[in-house]
Each structure stands twice: as structure tokens, then as C-alpha cells.
Amino acid sequence: MAYISEKRELTPEIKQLVLSAPEIAQKVKPGQFVIVRCGEKGERIPLTVVEQDEEKGTLSIILQEVGNSTKKLGSLEKGEEITDIAGPLGNPSEVRNFGTVVCIGGGVGTAMVYPVAKALKGAGNRLVSIVGAKNRQLLILEEQMRKISDRLLVTTDDGSCGTHGFVTDALEKLIADGLNIDRVVAVGPVAMMSAVCRITEKQDIQTIVSLNPIMVDGTGMCGACRVTVAGETKFACIDGPEFDGHQVDFEELLRRQRMYLEEEKIALEKQNSE
């Protein structure tokens, strides 16, 4: 059980929950995730840990309500409890002084990039960040990212905030302006991560992506989260979730993420009818 000590509505669809989970809060490092489950009939959902407070024994997660399970989770209020939380899972991000790093967050992916960016800044890197979303309403953690970054670029697909365009446009501009980039960390929709990697590959800039395939146990037991990296099958839960973006088979990842689209619809219809 994890008690919800705080709830923030970042956008109508994106919620931030602060949970009491002292044992996990002591241990979790940037780049790791937890698995939560709501109710005895709930499914196991992997979610990024955005921040933690070791003293208070809390950690915060951000979720976008896209399907039945995330809607259920998002409907929980302060003071209520989440049935199960397990973690921290996955490997921590590699944090050291690389020089200049560009951290890119797309949509709710910014929730994963933020703790990594913060740690990279803390390790002495020059931090340039790009956050993007479809529109102003879906943009999250802009202020937090601004605070930790030496420079922040904001893009929206419709131009309602920051520059009109994609995060990749901003990245290309940084490169064109002659910024010497030592490492890129990109987390967001598969199409975005894939597009970022296409750009950085040409420039030979090492690029780390955090993958979010479908998972069940999150401890290596089921293999649902297998991804192809450098031609080899890896399990995102124990080998990742971060991988060398230039080696990832994004097409396969996208296809596997869509495995249960039909069932997702059925579940949503059922939820709406209740």
C-alpha cells in the first residue's frame, strides 16, 4: 500500500502523485521506475519516479491518462491509497561529467528526463534542455527544467508556447549554431526518440534513450518488454530501461507497444459504461 500524500494536476490529463513509499524513496536513482497496481483487479503499470524525498519517505510519479488503468490511477485523490508499489526497478542512468549534454523531453517523457538532467547538472555538465509537447496544455515541468538548465528551449507542435515546431527542430538548430554536444539524453514518444537518434547519428553524438515497452513483472521474469538493441534481444526492465539510441529498433518497439490497442478500447468502453 502507498498512501497518496499530494496530488497535482499538471494538465487536465497529466497528474503528479506524491506517494509514501519510504523504502523505495531511500533507494531510487535517476532513470529508475516503479510498478504500481490499483485495486485487486488492476494491472501492473510501470511509471517513472520524478523526484523523491528520503527524509519524508515519499516519491513522486507523473502519469498521463491514456487508458483504463492510468485513468483509474489518475482518479485517485489525496489521502487515498495505491494497492501496490514495487521498486526501484531498472538500472540507474549513467551520471558523470560528460561535458555538454542536451536533455530532451517530449510530452510526458519529460518526467523521465527531469531527474536525469538534474543529476547530470549536479555532476558538473553544461546542461542544455529541450522540452516539447503538442500544445501548451500538455507541456509539463517547464519551470523545473528551466531552473536546472543552463539554457532551456521550449517547442510546441502548434506554436502555443515556445517555438513552433518539434524538439528535433530545436536540436538541429543547436547543432547548426555550432554547439559542441557530448551527449544527448532523449525521452518521449517512440517517434520522437527515433527522430532525435537519426539526427545525432549523423553527427556522431552519443545518444541515450529510455524505453517504455509493455511490461508485466518488471524484474526480468516475463520477457514482455523485450526490445532489439544492436541486433540482440534485451529486456528493458533489467537490461535497461536506458539504451544506446543508435542501436535501438524503434519500429519494433512501436509495433510491440500497440499489441493491446483493441483491448485498451474494450477496457475504456467498460470503464465509461460504469
Binding site: 523504502e23 523505495i24 533507494k27 497496481r37 483487479k41 488492476g42 494491472e43 501492473r44 483504463n68 488503468s69 483509474k72 494497492t83 501496490d84 508499489i85 514495487a86 521498486g87 526501484p88 526497478l89 508485466v216 513483472d217 524484474t219 526480468g220 521474469m221 516475463c222 520477457g223 514482455a224 523485450r226 526490445v227 532489439t228 534481444t233 529486456f235 533489467i238 519494433e252 509495433r255 510491440r256 500497440r258 499489441m259 493491446y260 483491448e263 485498451e264 474494450i266 477496457a267 467498460k270
Partner: protein, 472 residues
Amino acid sequence: MTKDSGIPAAREPMSKQDTKLRVKNFDEVALGYSAHQAIKEASRCLQCEEPFCISGCPVNVDIPGFIELITEGDFEKAFYKIRETNGLPAICGRVCPQESQCEKLCVLGKRKEPVAIGRLERFVADYVLKKGTIKADDVAESNGQKVAIVGSGPAGLTTAWDLAKMGYKVTIFEGFHKPGGVLVYGIPEFRLPKAIVQQEIDSISRLGIQMKTNMVIGKVNTVDELLQNGFNAVFIGSGAGLPRFMHIPGENLNGVYSANEYLTRTNLMKAYLFPEYDTPIKSGPRVAVIGGGNVAMDSARTALRLGAEKVFNIYRRSRTEMPARVEEIENAQEEGIEFIFLSTPVRIIGDEEGWVKTIECVQMELGKPDRSGRRRPLPLLRSEYTIEVDTVIVAIGTDVNPIIPSTTTGLNRNQRGYIIASEATGQTSKQGVFAGGDIVTGSATVISAMGAGRKAALAIHKYLSDQRRKGR
């Protein structure tokens, strides 16, 4: 006249759910004995003065003892006779491979069918569970020492139960949200009802054992930290590991599952009740299951119950070499699973959208015996053929899960990565750390894991008793 004259040659049959009905539901297939049947079968026991059957049982149940009590009609006493050494009789009565253990050594079995020990064990366990009154076990006075058990499967549960009875304060750490390990995520409801698993776990946990779920040891706490934080000893029974794949083209297509995933979605997450339960599963009308063990049989039979019209079981050797229990192979056959022997997949072909469409196999022939003693399968040139399927389930075993071995200092592992532990004691290379079950042996049986748990509990008791003495 021999001792067994007059004893029926055949064992008392156990009724099963009708084949046509059972493939449409997840209810238990084997229905168990009636009291009358149990007494009749128990009367077949020769009550050998020197019973061999007991030595075939990894937890040394007093088999003639409990069977004699059944013949007397004292089913409760028979139950407690078993429970002297086995905390999970309703589970063992269902899933133990008795035919290769106790029943294999049954003296009657030399000339006739051996006594149906497993069915009798199941009968008395169900009899008492139905009445719902399992007496609490006797517990020694607390000695104040704490033991951490990693994993709540058969190995962990047995170790915990034994140590709790000896007066230790036991905490079980389970990674999943529900205790039971393979009994809950792996073995299907139709073979081992989850309500029964829960009842037996409850009966063990009543001895003051603390059950902490959602605790992935190696992540939230390491084994080293458990020892630093007040546990005097640790038992690792974390179980089977990463599902093995065939490493053939198309294995990551949509519709290809590891048996672990397929069974976990169905059993632990109850995907067969989707959308009442949130977790979905995609199981098509034509399913291929790869492998010849119990997990393959469980997967194939699960596929039928999830609505498959045709299920193929593809195995690279012949029926004789199948590691699955004969009973399970027979059940699968009755239910209409089509066995394809001496075949192995070489690639899986997908449609334009990346879903499984066809599986291509090659025929095999058996060569000379390999290290396992079974004849090695070799591919026949140009014997490729294809089968149209929508779902492929890979049930060819597991490799070790690295989470605990890689985060524990001073823990020696073998070449395959499994923890090295003494077979007699479970002692590892690290002081105070013991291990048993699949994390030591690789995939094996429920009862062998329980046997390892039993030995480890005794060894932990000895280790900690010595420590207490030294401490004085």
C-alpha cells in the same frame, strides 16, 4: 501366495471433468477421491515394514503411516501425519511428480499399479481444508533470532515454516504483489486452484511469519543489507529466472509470448477474466507451443481455455523424451492438443502489421545421447514446413535471473550463473546465506524446491544455534 495377492491390480480411478466441458473453463480438471474411494485405494497399501516410498519423498512424508489412518477412516489424523513434515499437502498432492518419486518406489508397483499416494494426499488435505480447521502447528519458544526468506514459492515457504516452528522470527520478502511464486503465477488454476494455494499459505503464515510483498530483493534491499539490518541469516529461494528464447528470426513479432508471460498474465493477473480484470492477453484461434515440459503442457491447455480452436505442441525430440508428467501429456492429448514431435522452429513469419502468421519448422532425427542422457535431436536437411498460427508460446526453460546474484557480495555462482549451494545444507559461499530451489538447480519441481528448503532450514538452525552458543 504372495503378499499382494487379492489386491486389485489397478488403482482406484480419479474422476475428471468432462473433456468437452473442461476445455471451456478454468475449473480444476481432476476432481479428487470420495471418502469411499480413498479408503478403497488406501487398502491397496502393503504397509511394508521397510517402506521405500518414504525415501522417494524429498520431505520424507510418513506415507504408510498416513495411508493406514485413511483405511481407519481417520482422515484428520492422516492429514496431521502428513503435516508433520509437509506444510503444503493439498498443493503437493496435485502437482508432485509422484510417479517418479514415492510411487516409483512403491513395492506394489513391481507387479501391479503402485498405490496412488498423491491422490490420497490430496484427498486428506482437501478434506481438512474444506472443514477449514487446520490446527496451528506447535511452535518452539522464540529464540530472538531473525531470518529473512527471499521468495515465497515452495522453497521459501517450506524454509519459513520450518524455521518459524523452531522459534525463529521469519520475514518473507516477495517481489510480486501476491505470495506463492510459481504456485500462483505459473501453475494454472485448472491444475492448482489459487484458493487452495492461499489456504495453505495462510496455514503456514499463521505461525507469526511476516509476509512482505512488493519487495524486490537486490533492488529495494540487497541481501548484504538484510544481513546488516538485523537478520541473522538469509535464505534465497527466488526461483526461476529469465525466460529463454530460441533466438530465431521473428521471435519479437506481436503474438509471440514466453510461457512465463503467457501464464503470468493468465494466472496471476487473471487475464482470462478480462475485461473484469484489467490485464489483457492476446491468444489467437491457432496456437503453437514450443517445448516438451510441464510448462509447455500448461501453456497449451491454457490456450484452449482462452478460446483456441487448434493448439500445436512442437517438440524437438519424441514423446519418450518429453520431460512433462505423463498425466499432463495425457490430459493435453484428451483435450485435443496436437503433438508434433521431432520438429523445431527455425523462424516465425509475420504479416504486414507485424503479427505472427506462420511458423516454419524443420524436422529432426535423434542422434547419439547427449550429456543429459537423452538422444540429441539433429535437423534433417531440406525438411522445412510451415504451419499457420496466430500465437506462439515459447516454453523451452529459463536462465538465471541476475538481480540477486549480481547484487550480493561474495556469492559464488556456477558457469550458467546459478548460485552454488551445498546440496545437503543449502550453504552458499557467503556466511549466513543459504539458497535452494530453482535459483540453485535451474527449473525443477515444487517438491524438490521444498526438499531444498527443508534441508536449508535445518542447516540455518544449526548455524544460528552455534552462533547463539558462541555469543554466550
